[in-house]
C-alpha cells in the first residue's frame, strides 16, 4: 500500500484511511499477520454505491467512510451519517465549488461530527476556504505534497462571514478578529 500524507486539522500526518475499490475486499485487520485481534481494522472509504449495497455489513464493521460525488444532494445522506465515520467530498476541478456547499450543509445543517475530507484537485490557494467550510482533512492533489497546502491555511486572520469554522459572522463576534489575532 502506498503511503500518503494528508493535512489533518492543520498538521501533516500519514493518511490512516484506505480507499477500497468496488472490486476489492474490505480489509478486516490491520494488514499485518502478527497483529493482535484487538487492533481495530483499518479505516476504509468506499464508494457511495457500495455503501448503499452493503450498508448493514459496513455499518456493523465500523470505521467506514463514503466518497460522495459532487452532484449528490448531500441531504439524502442524512440517515447514513450516524453510521459513517467520514465523508469525502470531491473537487473534480479546483474551479468546481459544489463541495464547499456540501461541506457546510454536512456540518451546519446535518450536524455531522465525523471527518470531512476534501479530495481531488485540492490546492493550497483553496485550503483556507475549505477549512472554513468544515473540511478537517485535505488530501493534496495528485503529485503534490501535503506540506504544500499548509501556508494556505493562514492566508487570512480576519473573516467576515460565519461558516462551519466560526458560526458567528463578524458583526456578532464579541472581539474584533484583529485584536484576537494580536492577543
Amino acid at each position: 500500500m502506498e503511503s500518503r500524507e494528508i493535512v489533518l486539522d492543520g498538521a501533516v500526518v500519514a493518511d490512516p484511511w484506505v480507499f477500497v475499490a468496488d472490486d476489492e475486499p474490505i480489509p478486516s485487520q490491520s494488514g499485518r499477520a502478527d497483529a493482535p485481534t484487538s487492533v481495530a481494522p483499518p479505516r476504509v472509504f468506499v464508494t457511495l454505491g457500495r455503501w448503499r449495497a452493503d450498508r448493514a455489513a459496513l455499518a456493523a464493521r465500523g470505521r467506514v467512510g463514503v466518497v460522495v460525488p459532487s452532484d449528490l444532494d448531500i441531504r439524502t445522506l442524512a440517515d447514513d451519517l450516524p453510521l459513517l465515520a467520514a465523508v469525502a467530498l470531491e473537487f473534480p476541478r479546483f474551479a468546481d465549488g459544489r463541495a464547499y456547499t456540501q461541506a457546510r450543509i454536512l456540518r451546519e445543517q446535518l450536524g455531522f461530527l465525523g471527518s470531512v475530507r476534501a479530495r481531488g484537485e485540492v490546492l493550497r490557494d483553496q485550503a483556507f476556504y475549505m477549512v472554513r467550510c468544515g473540511f478537517d482533512v485535505l488530501e493534496p492533489a495528485a503529485g503534490r505534497a501535503a506540506a504544500d497546502l499548509l501556508p494556505g491555511l493562514s492566508d487570512f486572520s480576519v473573516t467576515y462571514q460565519g461558516a462551519a469554522d466560526t458560526a458567528l459572522p463578524r458583526y456578532r463576534r464579541p472581539t474584533p478578529d484583529t485584536q484576537r489575532a494580536v492577543a
Partner: protein, 551 residues
C-alpha cells in the same frame, strides 16, 4: 462614505501578501498558467491583447479625494497615465506589469482600495445608483446595504468558485438608475404593506450571449434577512448551476430552465433553513453601517443657493453645461454635477491622471471631498452648492471635464473592443469616435434629446448593447469588422431588450446609419417624445427603411 476599521485594513493587506506570493510562484514556475489564471482573475487581473489589465474595485462607485489622487499616482506609475471607468463603476488600468501588480495592490491598500473579486467566477463588486443619498426619489440610501453585501461577499468561503460570475446591484430609488433587472441579483428597497422598508429581490437578469430581464423571486425581504436570502440564492446556484457549458452557467439560465416557481421553491426551502441562524443581521450592525453614510454638513439653502441667471446670461457655455450636466439634489441649494468622460476624441470612460488629480482637488473644494463613478462610464460630484457651480465649471473646463453632453447621443457606453480586449471581434472605440464626429453640433445633439447609444465589440456585451435605445454589436465577418444594429433596448424602469433591425454594416457605414436613424426619428417624433418612445410607437419599419432603403 465607509471607512475601513482594523479588520478591513488587515484583510486587504493580507490579500496583497497572498497575491504577492501567488505572483512569485507563477514567475518561478511553481504555478502553471492554468492554475494561476483563476487566482489572478479573482484579483481582477486579466490578460488582454497587449498586456495585463487590472480592474480595481470601486464599491458602489464611491471615491474619496484621497483615493482619486492615489488612482492618479497609479495611472502614472504603473500605466500610461490614464484609467478607464467600466460599466460596473470600477476603474481599469491597461498596462501594468505582472511583477509590479503586488506593489500596485499595496498602493491601493494604502487608501482602503483593492481589486478583490473584480473578475472570476465569484461574487463581483456590488454596484448601486450613482445618485444614492442625494436623489429626491429615494426611499432610503442603499449604500449601507451595499457595504453590508460587500463585506459578506468578500472572500466568502463557499462562493469563491461558482459556475460563473455573479453580479449584485442595489437601488433605493423609485427610478431605477442601477439597472437592477439586469443583474444576477437586483435588490430594490421597497416599503411593505405594514410600512417596513426592506428589499424586493429580482434574480436572473443579465446581458451577454443570452440577454434576459430578471424576475421577482420575492416581493419583500426584511433588512435583517437580506444576507440569508442572498446566501440561499447563491447556494441554490452553486449546487445547481451548469458547470459543463460556460455559456449556460449564469444563474439566469438556471432560473429560466427550472422555471420561476421551481426556482423560488428551492430558494425558499434553503432560506427557511438559514434565516434564523447567526447570519441574521442585527439592528446594531445596520446602524453602524448607516452612520458612515450620514448626510454631510450641508449649508442652509439661503447660503448655498445662488441664482445663476446673471452668470448664465454672460456665458452661454456655462448655461449649456448647467442645463445638461447638473441635476436636482434633494437638498435645496445644492445640485448634482455630472462629469462626462465622453469628450470628443477620447475613448468613452477614459480619464487621465491629471484629470483624476483635478477632480480630487475640485471635490475637496466643492463636494465634501467625494466623487462617484457611474455605470454610464461617467463621474459625479454629488453635493455641490449652487453658488459654487460657476467656479467648479471653470475648474472642470480647464481639466477637459466639462463636455456638456450628458444623456445625449454622444454620451455613449462603449467597451474597450478590439483595441484592448482579447475577446473582442471588432473595434468599438474607433466606431464611437466616428459617431462622435458625426454629432459635433451641440444644438443638434440637444434637439435629439435623450438617446442612449451602447456599443459592444463582441457578443459578451460589455457595452450593454441590448439595453441601448440604439445598440451596436461588432462582429467578425470573414475577417472584416462588421456591425449589427439593434433598436428599442432600455435599462431602467421601462426595461426592455433591443431587437436587430437588419444585416450588419461595414465600419464605414455605421456612423451614417446612426445619422439616418436619428433623422428618421426627428421626422417621426410627436411632441416631446424621446427616440425610444417614437420607436415604441411607430415600430421598427421606418427605421429599417432609413438604414437599408426600401426593400
Amino acid at each position: 462614505m465607509y471607512r475601513y476599521d482594523e479588520d478591513d485594513i488587515r484583510i486587504v493587506r493580507e490579500r496583497v501578501e497572498q497575491f504577492r506570493d501567488q505572483v512569485r510562484r507563477r514567475l518561478s514556475g511553481e504555478l502553471s498558467e492554468d492554475e494561476f489564471r483563476p487566482l489572478r482573475l479573482q484579483n481582477g487581473l486579466y490578460h488582454q491583447r497587449h498586456a495585463y489589465m487590472l480592474r480595481v474595485a470601486i464599491p458602489y462607485g464611491m471615491l474619496s479625494s484621497r483615493q482619486l489622487r492615489q488612482l492618479a499616482y497609479i495611472a502614472r506609475r504603473y500605466d500610461k497615465g490614464y484609467g478607464h471607468i467600466s460599466t460596473r463603476q470600477n476603474i481599469q488600468f491597461n498596462w501594468p506589469l505582472l511583477e509590479e501588480v503586488p506593489d500596485l495592490l499595496s498602493d491601493l491598500a494604502d487608501v482602503e482600495m483593492h481589486a478583490i473579486q473584480t473578475s472570476g467566477n465569484c461574487i463581483r463588486n456590488v454596484t448601486s445608483d450613482a445618485l444614492a443619498g442625494v436623489a429626491g426619489d429615494e426611499l432610503e440610501d442603499p449604500r449601507p446595504y451595499c457595504e453590508l453585501i460587500r463585506q459578506w461577499s468578500t472572500f466568502h468561503p463557499e462562493f469563491a468558485y461558482l459556475p460563473r460570475k455573479f453580479k449584485i446591484a442595489v437601488t433605493g430609488a423609485t427610478v431605477d438608475r442601477a439597472a437592477v433587472a439586469f443583474h444576477d441579483i437586483g435588490l430594490r428597497l421597497v416599503r411593505s404593506d405594514s410600512g417596513e422598508v426592506g428589499f424586493q429581490v429580482i434574480v436572473g437578469g443579465g446581458l451577454g450571449r443570452t440577454p434576459l430581464i430578471g424576475q421577482v423571486v420575492r416581493e419583500f425581504v426584511s433588512k435583517r434577512d437580506i444576507l440569508s436570502y442572498c446566501e440561499a440564492v447563491l447556494r441554490v446556484y452553486n449546487l445547481g448551476g451548469d458547470r459543463e457549458n460556460k455559456y449556460k452557467a449564469r444563474i439566469k439560465i438556471q432560473l429560466k430552465t427550472a422555471g420561476i416557481d421551481a426556482f423560488r421553491a428551492a430558494v425558499e426551502a434553503e432560506w427557511d433553513r438559514v434565516r434564523d441562524t447567526p447570519i441574521a443581521v442585527p439592528e446594531a450592525e445596520l446602524d453602524r453601517l448607516r452612520a458612515f453614510f450620514e448626510p454631510p454638513a450641508y449649508e442652509a439653502a439661503s447660503r448655498a443657493a445662488k441664482s445663476w441667471d446673471a452668470e448664465s446670461a454672460v456665458d452661454p457655455e456655462f448655461a449649456r453645461w448647467l442645463r445638461h450636466n447638473t441635476s436636482e439634489h434633494k437638498v435645496p441649494g445644492y445640485r448634482v454635477v455630472h462629469i462626462s468622460l465622453k469628450a470628443p476624441g477620447v475613448p468613452p470612460g477614459d480619464i487621465t491622471a491629471d484629470q483624476l488629480d483635478a477632480l480630487a482637488a475640485l471635490s475637496d473644494s466643492y463636494s465634501f471631498g467625494e466623487a462617484r463613478t457611474t455605470h454610464q462610464q461617467n463621474m459625479v460630484l454629488a453635493d455641490v452648492a449652487q453658488r459654487d457651480l460657476a467656479d467648479l465649471w471653470r475648474g472642470l473646463r480647464d481639466a477637459g471635464l466639462a463636455t456638456p453632453n450628458i444623456g445625449t447621443l454622444t454620451d455613449m457606453i462603449c467597451c474597450p473592443g478590439l483595441d484592448f480586449c482579447s475577446l473582442a471581434n471588432a473595434g468599438s472605440i474607433a466606431v464611437a469616435r466616428r459617431i462622435d464626429e458625426t454629432f459635433q453640433d451641440l444644438d443638434e445633439l440637444y434637439d435629439l434629446g435623450e438617446v442612449q447609444l451602447k456599443l459592444s465589440g463582441c457578443i459578451n456585451a460589455c457595452g450593454h448593447h441590448h439595453i441601448g435605445h440604439i445598440g451596436i454589436l461588432g462582429i467578425n465577418k470573414a475577417g472584416e469588422e462588421y456591425y449589427q444594429i439593434m433598436l428599442g433596448g432600455a435599462p431602467g424602469d421601462d426595461a426592455s431588450l433591443g431587437r436587430w433591425i437588419g444585416p450588419a454594416v461595414a465600419q464605414d457605414e455605421i456612423a451614417p446609419a446612426v445619422d439616418r436613424l436619428v433623422r428618421r426619428y426627428v421626422e417621426q417624433r410627436a411632441n416631446q417624445e424621446r427616440f425610444i418612445d417614437t420607436y415604441r410607437r411607430v415600430g421598427a419599419e421606418p427605421f429599417k427603411e432609413a438604414v437599408y432603403g426600401i426593400a
